[in-house]
């Protein structure tokens, strides 16, 4: 078994309105920043022991499918590194 950290990034699907990101963008603009766009995402770092990085990724993938993301509105990706 090897120790891995699987990073799951959950973001709204393209085209789904993100009012919090819009509000954040406007606040940055009020602070004087120039920006063309802003997207927000949730990032989960999950520590797991697994036989391989593929197995760790598969487990994190299932976590995203079953809880971390809502397939109606979210896309997600999984990135695994040894820790």
């Amino acid at each position: 078994m090897t120790a891995y950290t699987a990073t799951v990034t959950v973001r709204l699907k393209e085209g789904v309105l993100d009012p919090e990101a819009e509000t954040t963008k406007r606040a940055l603009e009020r602070l004087g920043f120039e920006l063309d766009g802003l997207r927000s995402a949730d990032r989960f770092e999950v520590d797991v022991d697994a036989d391989s990085s593929e197995a760790a990724a598969a487990r994190a993938d299932e976590m995203a499918e079953r809880l971390l993301a809502n397939p109606t509105i979210h896309d997600y990706d999984v990135d695994v590194v040894e820790r």
């Binding site: 309105l17 009012p19 919090e20 809880l67």
Partner: protein, 225 residues
């Protein structure tokens, strides 16, 4: 008996019990960790902020073990009504289609809204006629209905949209849409019409002494049908 499932953070469970009692419907609060009582013949998923809205509103409660029982009961025809946070839980649990997410305004909205009855041929809307306009309170930060265009078209085709946000004359407009819900959808049916969720609060428009009208009674009467 109607079981009103109380999660940690639910706060409309008592309102639902009182409103149902006013209509002569036997209802009791049930703590989610205790499981559904044997005599349950209807289930309310009440409003509130279960699990502090962690992750997404309703996401945690939807995965609580008791929801397996709720899904089984729902599949066997037991009436299930999700209100506000209960609607978010219902969608997260897959009892009903779509998702409820952050209001387009990015604000928590607490106001009275008008709804048009889209399908009066369900236990929840039998008291109304199709096209009737009712007034319910809303109180939510994550009530924007989202579904793909195809999903929404399918829901329309299958007559599973229960209510749409509208103006006082029944016109479904962007201006009358309080939270940016796709297609102005305020409530939908599950696979069976005995399962329904809606963001507005019928239980807060049921007791006559609250002076917001009693339009909500019709929805709750779905349990006495």
């Amino acid at each position: 008996m109607i079981s009103v499932l109380q999660f940690g953070g639910s706060n409309c469970d008592r309102d639902a019990v009182r409103a149902l009692a006013h209509l002569g419907v036997d209802a009791e609060r049930v703590w989610f960790e205790d499981g559904l009582p044997e005599e349950t013949d209807g289930i309310v998923l009440p409003g509130g902020f279960s699990y502090g809205d962690y992750l997404r509103a309703g996401a945690m409660a939807a995965r609580a073990p008791v929801m397996r029982e709720v899904r089984e009961r729902a599949a066997n025809g037991t009436p299930v009504l999700g209100i506000c946070n209960g609607a978010q839980i219902g969608c997260e649990a897959g009892l009903t289609p779509g998702a409820f997410t952050t209001n387009a305004s990015a604000r928590f909205q607490c106001e009275h809204v008008h709804l048009r009855v889209e399908n009066a041929d369900t236990p929840w809307t039998a008291a109304y006629d199709e096209g009737d306009v009712v007034m319910f309170p809303i109180a939510h930060g994550e009530g924007r209905f989202e579904a793909t265009d195809e999903e929404l078209a399918r829901l329309d085709e299958e007559d599973r949209v229960l209510f749409r946000y509208c103006d006082s004359a029944g016109n479904v407009t962007d201006a009358a849409n309080p939270n940016g819900s796709k297609g102005n959808v305020a409530g939908v049916l599950g696979e069976r019409d005995t399962v329904a969720v809606l963001l507005p609060h019928p239980e807060r428009a049921t007791l006559p002494d609250l002076h917001v009208g009693t339009d909500g009674q019709g929805v709750l009467r779905g349990f006495s049908a």
